[in-house]
Subunit: 560 residues, 2 copies
């Protein structure tokens, strides 16, 4: 439902009470601007799910009112759902998509893969150049993050200005020499910012995040202590990190090779936009890696999160076509595990040790810097922008709580701090701010070609199947008397049958099925569904008694 | 195969190149002593598996030669496989099981649950009292760890003495006032230790682990800052930690309540053995918790690892029958996540924040101390015992490598450091030490009532089922002409069918099945298995084309 006229509404559809799938609907006088359209990767219990998106049913109903989609930066948790959102909206109206140059180029490549380029209106915007979207004047403000062209979004309407920061830090010495536009933030504060929606990711870390440019010298230092081949893994989108690896390689007289599809793609886009410079002759092709002298090469690879099909994971399993890890190699993790990936990363590291190579992580040397500001930077943001209202964004419940307390610690009155939740909008008008009525929010799953609601039944079935397997009984009975006409077929998958016991057990089970059918026939039960129910219960009981397992039991009764 | 006479053989069956399922076979002159019989908990990709045990096929063949099983301490990764090992060995010969008092009592309770008490010979041994087992003289040596009665095992034969440390630290101020027997270790060193097999768990942490008794004052300090109810979660077997929670509660004028089955069981056993003292009147029953004044109570709970059915996890989900977490409650995690449990622990913590309660972890205050010694303690162990040979135990590949380097750093010659692997024995005789021939080792799974080899097929099936579900096609064909006699049955589980598209798709699929059968009939294909193969391929192709998913396709052809 649309808010009343004169009400500015901020409706978070994702990213609150969770890490990922950031998406916010900003609405005023019937017009909508969407800030970010992010996704999340499934947890291990979301079996077989490919991607998790914010439930954007709200937008579907209001497609005609969407004036613009604005993206803060090019990370998947801020742009990954764009193809799915655009596909839904396109039927009604195609809103322009605004973002910084790299953001737009990454999105262009993504929409191309989804065959959506022809319907998309992509607009590169420069920080500080205002543009209009319905009743809003929008402006992007340069901030620092672990990907170039990261911005905050200022949305101004008659009521005032709301600032959605996206992910940010205040890096005083960024690699590209273009620090956050502190002056513009201060102007917003001086002019009276209505609302600040800020990144909560590192609110629990005291102090200030190390500068991105502090990483390079540490990489170089680590390189000088390596005799053999060097493999550096990092996020492919962290173009400035890749630049620093290239610079450090050059400083120690090594060449570089880029391994992993997204690494090559991102570096290509980054080079076209001037975000990264790789001198002529520095690049070694992947097929030349094994023939190149070990002490002259730095391989830059994807897979810092231990992702199953990534280049580094394949190397760790001795399964990469171009890189054969061995004794003397050193793998540097210029990244830290995203929460939840610890197991995959640790497994990858231990596999590398098993192959005889050495590993250096961010725990061993400061070869990584977070892209999210620490507590003092979050305080600086509040102090600079002096917002009337504060709404913590991008954080689980703990971080949102801590971010609220942090805002209070620098003087925001507790009643002006709104810890909302996905689907719970904040509504601001000339009289003040309050929570609005709940709107639909949650997650939708991408599973193969389907995008849909939480398929509870399918997921529950998959969980059951994954735990104990499935047991299928096919009984063929006579239309006349309901008795078996051929012996029942028993099929199982994912139920281990051990030793010789298997055949005896199957024979006994076959008898149990025949007995169950005979009993039903005697009781003149002829309705198929009822027959199947009886068969299910009898077989499930037998299997549990004998195996102490509860596989899914699926009886199929065919009448001939 | 038994080693030659005069050869001391150390055959690790678990715990090398991994964290968990520690088990070692020590053999001399045809006689075997087993040190520890541990288990591991399954990883998320070991779908539906209950427990992972070391493959002890080697022992099965040599059951008659097993003289003793000796346990270093009562943790599951050192004793959990005992019921399974004993059940196998019992047919041939029941070896006595030795361990410290708490170890034996915990094992007694475990064997009781497995109905194995009547066949077991359990022997409490005191540190420093030697006992015989075939050609070996055994002695346990008091060490410190996060469970009382932890010991190292010295195994002496004509050739010399091997020391298997189990898990240990050198705690100078243990809670029970009984530090590690450094003097005895020094004696072993003076007399010439042949082999040291040492815990590698914390080899990557510099310095010395904090003393267990350092935790109590920090708990008390944290308690004084809590106004509402306090919940402390820790391992139930960490009896001295529980003692310190009780003491801190008493110091701040609070009573305690024990929540979680294993917490009550372990405290009971601990009280009987004199390891923990809880003053008269300090204990509050679980059913009184909600009626007790919040500021007068400390709840001690299981669930520090976010285990699915644990008391704390249930509280975090608002699902515990006796504790209703709320605003004002503070939950203290007096434990750190075991690698791999980070996600479950973080989820639990965030759920607690969502309920409005506060959380303090070991990152916020020093309310936990590891039970494993850090690098300087591992060096002290090597220096004290001055072993001729060193074999790192209890660690993944990384830690074993670091432990080997640590031993070299304190003077052990590199050629005397043996980084073995499960199944690869070290053989020592009067001429020296070398790796012996590989023996069977690996993992076996407990799944329901079955204990067996890695059921690759069942696990692969479960993985497939869990990712994309299952599609079952039942075709009933005529014996005469191979054509369908009733329409095919289509059943799917774990395959989401969305919107109205489902029925159309099913109709089309039914046609595809009929077509496939008709084609086979025309080609006069009548062999059931071949018919099923064709049906499988046709259906799988159709489903993938339409859904871009690869569910397991299971065709069943019944001939009538």
């Amino acid at each position: 439902m649309s808010p009343a006229p004169g009400v500015l509404r901020i409706l978070p559809l994702g990213g609150l009470g969770e890490i990922g799938k950031n998406m916010t609907v900003v609405e005023y006088d019937g017009a909508i601007v969407v800030v970010d359209t992010g996704l999340m990767f499934p947890t291990p219990d979301q079996l077989g799910i490919d991607l998790v998106l914010p439930d954007f049913a709200y937008l579907r109903d209001r497609a005609a009112d969407v004036q613009a989609i604005v993206l803060t930066h090019g990370h998947e948790d801020h742009v990954g759902a764009l193809p799915f959102v655009l596909r839904e909206l396109a039927a009604e109206r195609v809103p322009p998509v605004y973002g910084g140059p790299l953001t737009i180029e990454l999105v262009r490549s993504k929409l191309d893969e989804h065959h959506l380029l022809e319907v998309a209106l992509l607009e590169q915007v420069e920080p500080g150049e205002p543009f209009e979207a319905g009743p809003f004047t929008l402006e992007t403000i340069r901030l620092s993050h672990s990907i170039p062209d990261s911005v905050g979004i200022a949305l101004s309407c008659e009521l005032g200005t709301a600032l959605i920061t996206g992910d940010y830090k205040f890096d005083q010495t960024p690699v590209d020499g273009e620090p956050a536009d502190v002056a513009r933030l201060a102007e917003l504060g001086r002019d009276g910012l209505l609302l600040l929606c800020g990144d909560s990711t590192n609110v629990d870390r005291p102090g200030i995040a190390p500068s991105e440019s502090s990483v390079g010298p540490h990489l170089e230092e680590a390189f000088t202590r390596c005799d053999g081949r060097i493999i550096v893994t990092s996020f492919a989108s962290n173009i400035h990190r890749v630049q620093q690896v290239v610079d450090a390689a050059q400083a120690v007289g090594r060449k570089v090779s880029l391994v992993g599809r997204s690494m090559r793609k991102n570096v290509n886009i980054g080079r076209q936009l001037g975000h990264i410079e790789i001198p002529e002759g520095m690049l070694v092709g992947v097929r030349e890696i094994e023939d190149f002298p070990d002490h002259k090469l730095v391989v830059i690879s994807t897979g810092s999160q231990g992702e199953p099909l990534s280049a580094l994971r394949r190397m760790a399993h001795g399964d990469h076509p171009n890189v054969d890890l061995h004794d003397g190699d050193t793998v540097l993790f210029s990244a830290t595990p995203i929460p939840g990936n610890e197991r995959a990363v640790n497994e990858t590291i231990d596999r590398i040790y098993q192959l005889g190579a050495n590993v250096i992580t961010a725990r061993d040397a400061p070869i990584h810097a977070s892209g999210h500001g620490y507590a003092e930077e979050l305080k600086l943001m509040v102090n600079l922008t002096a917002p009337r209202y504060v709404m913590p964004f991008h954080g689980d419940h703990r971080r949102m709580r801590l971010h609220g307390e942090l805002a209070e610690s620098v003087g925001v009155p507790p009643e002006n701090v709104f810890r909302a939740a996905n689907g719970f909008p904040l509504e601001i008008d000339s009289r003040g701010a309050r929570y609005g009525e709940r709107e639909q929010a949650g997650m939708i799953f991408v599973d193969g070609l389907d995008v849909g609601d939480v398929e509870d039944v399918a997921l529950r079935d998959r969980r059951m199947l994954s735990a104990d397997g499935i047991f299928i009984v096919v009984a063929t009975i006579s239309e006349q008397d309901g008795r078996s006409v051929v012996p029942p077929e028993l099929i199982f998958r994912g139920v281990p049958f051990l030793d010789g016991a298997g055949e005896t057990l199957l024979d006994e089970l076959r008898s149990a099925v025949e007995d169950s059918l005979a009993r039903s026939a005697e009781e003149e039960i002829r309705e198929i569904s009822l027959l199947q129910d009886h068969l299910h219960d009898d077989v499930a009981r037998f299997v549990y008694d004998r195996l102490k397992r509860r596989p899914m039991v699926l009886p199929v009764v065919v009448e001939v």
